[in-house]
């Protein structure tokens, strides 16, 4: 130990080992993944996952820059690793292939709010579970999402989510009330003659949220429920 050469061999060797085991080998394994092509008698019928562009991508950037990831994860673990499936946050666990086009992936490490891996899936949208019975919505669609972004507590009592009012605009109603205006009641409603409409960021964010659907069956993982028909 009194010879620096041993010390430096140790430092360099340990870094090489760490980099090899935790970065290079997994990269070999994950880096070569391709989307799954579903084929029907030789004809390609669907591709999963796909690389979303346009407004969904813009919404994803809003999600990243607002730091949604510090409260919401986007990963579903299997039965042995948690209650995710029992909470109907997904029909199967998520795997590396689900995130193929995500740069950066928004996996998250904290659940101060629910997991959002499948917020756009038809099941999560149309059959709201995991909710206060008194506040149970009929559907968690775009209008619900916008209202929830603007004033979470009108939709969920004791919600820990901050209201994202700055993603909306309060403006005077000129002529007819906008179709996009939020249907607010009580203290959250604007004074008469005014309306609250989402800014482009809010609309993009909701498009992104509704695009989140990782229920597509994959060969490498068993789905809990029978595979739903392709969208």
């Amino acid at each position: 130990m009194n010879r620096p050469v041993y010390l430096f061999a140790g430092i360099i060797g340990s870094f090489a080992l760490s980099c090899y085991a935790l970065v290079l080998v997994p990269q070999q394994q994950i880096g070569s993944l391709q989307p799954q092509f579903g084929d029907d008698e030789g004809k390609i019928v669907d591709i999963y996952p796909i690389d979303n562009q346009g407004v969904v991508k813009a919404g994803r950037d809003v999600y990243a820059s607002e730091g949604c990831v510090y409260c919401h994860s986007q990963q579903v673990r299997d039965e042995q690793n948690g209650s995710d499936l029992a909470r109907s946050w997904g029909e199967r666990r998520t795997v590396a292939r689900d995130y193929l086009f995500e740069n950066p992936p928004l996996l998250g490490s904290m659940r101060l709010g629910p997991d959002l891996a499948n917020v756009g899936s038809s099941k999560w949208r149309d059959e709201p579970a995991d909710e206060d019975p008194n506040f149970k919505p009929a559907k968690r669609d775009a209008a619900w999402q916008l209202l929830h972004l603007y004033a979470p507590r009108t939709i969920m009592k004791d919600s820990g989510m901050p209201p994202y009012r700055y993603l909306f605009e309060r403006r005077k109603i000129s002529g007819q009330r906008s179709d996009e205006a939020l249907k607010l009641t009580g203290d959250d409603a604007p004074e008469p003659g005014y309306e609250i409409v989402p800014k482009p960021e809010a609309k993009a964010l909701v498009s992104y949220l509704l695009s989140l659907d990782r229920s597509h069956p994959l060969n490498e993982v068993k789905s809990a429920a029978p595979a739903p028909a392709a969208k």
Partner: protein, 496 residues
Amino acid sequence: MTAAAPAPSPTITAPAPSKPTVSPYEYDARERSAIDASTRGPVLFFFGNAILWLLLASVLGFIASVQLHSPGFLADIPFLTYGRIWPAYTNTMIYGWASLSGMGVAIWLLARLCRVSIKLPGVLVAGAIFWQIGLTVGIIGILAGKTTGLEGLEIPRGSAALMLFGYLLFGLWGALIFGFRKQTLTFVSVWYLMAAIFWFPWTFATAHFGVALPNVHGVMQSLVASWATQNVLNLWLTSIGLAAAYYLIPKVINRPIHSYNLASIGFWTFLLVSGLTGALRLSGGPIPAWVVSLSISSTILLLVQIATVSANLVLTMRGQLHMVYHSPTIRFTFFGVIAFMISGVVAVLASLRSVDRVLHFTLFQSAQMHLVVYAFFSMVMFGAMYYILPRLVGCEWLSSSMIRFHFLGAAYGGGLLIITTALGGIATGSALADPEVIFSQINEVGSFYYIGRSLAWVLIFIAHLMFGLHFLLMLLRIGQPGGEPTLFDIHDEEAH
């Protein structure tokens, strides 16, 4: 450039091991004061800036904590919302306070232990300036919503490049001090410091620029980010913290380290396995299971190091435990060593799959981070600063009650923060594990603990303000005359 220190006077030209012409004690004292004089500028600059970052981190941490129980707090100001404050807080804490204070302590320790005076100390100051320009731009970027979005590597790439450049100036000078050492490689602290100095730039550069490569996509980026985050905690901060503890405890107790062999076993275990623990942050997630298993077994193996380091330092203290009551340095450092032990045991328990499934997505993770960064690392850094500063400015700390107040605030505040965060994590984690409990109930369970966290942050902030003020007084040379260390009990004749 950073040549070996010129001897303080022509009569003292002999290298260390041979007999100098003056008495060894006087020779050492003169050499030490020459070395301290050469490190004064950069080390004070690192410390002063680190403390400013610490105060900023305390404010950000407090805001983020309040937002957990009062979600509407500052929610209408985009750059102060939780999703931006939280990453700004963690980066300020780790790259502002912890890294800068660590670099200051590392330079001072290296110069002392290698017996080298620093040439061109301005280069180190320049390094600190570049690092902080990068960090400031990065933090402003995060608050402005220009984050990379990758958890753990939020600082935008341009800022990271500036920080890396600043770091390289520091790292180069650290390596040069080592290269010109006049002392054989016998100090445990030097091993840990060299590991930290070489590991950090590799892992920082590999992570920030590796994820930009075109074929590194999807969850691989998350794996790289968690690997890098864990390396920064382990091989950068923990290394420097242990180097300081291995120096300060024997020095103040005035007794050599209990066992050189134990220290050696601990160091090599640490070097071998602590770089393999990074995948724990993705346990249960969409990455190959074997990577997580490797990290769990490495975390368990790391117990060997935790046990040897703790045993070594505690045995060095044996019979001298009363020093905890007298010496501020020992009180802070020993607190840190205890926290280090606890953090190691907690890390092993939390890594087990049966525990992880409950605690994984909860604040328990944050409690573990604070156990390492605050209760261990920061407390050791405080202890080191209480030791180093009088040797740089030539006077002793003004007030033992201010030091006592700082300790109480940091220990109780930090302890309360970690305990409430951990309990909050356990409570919400158990609720999350039960699919019958709906989400708003989980928030109700948590909010009790979240309020405790905010109280803790108030204590911590006051303690840090007190420390900052005391530091400022030292910079202005307002203190007790040099020579007599500020002990908690001024009537005690015990040596510092």
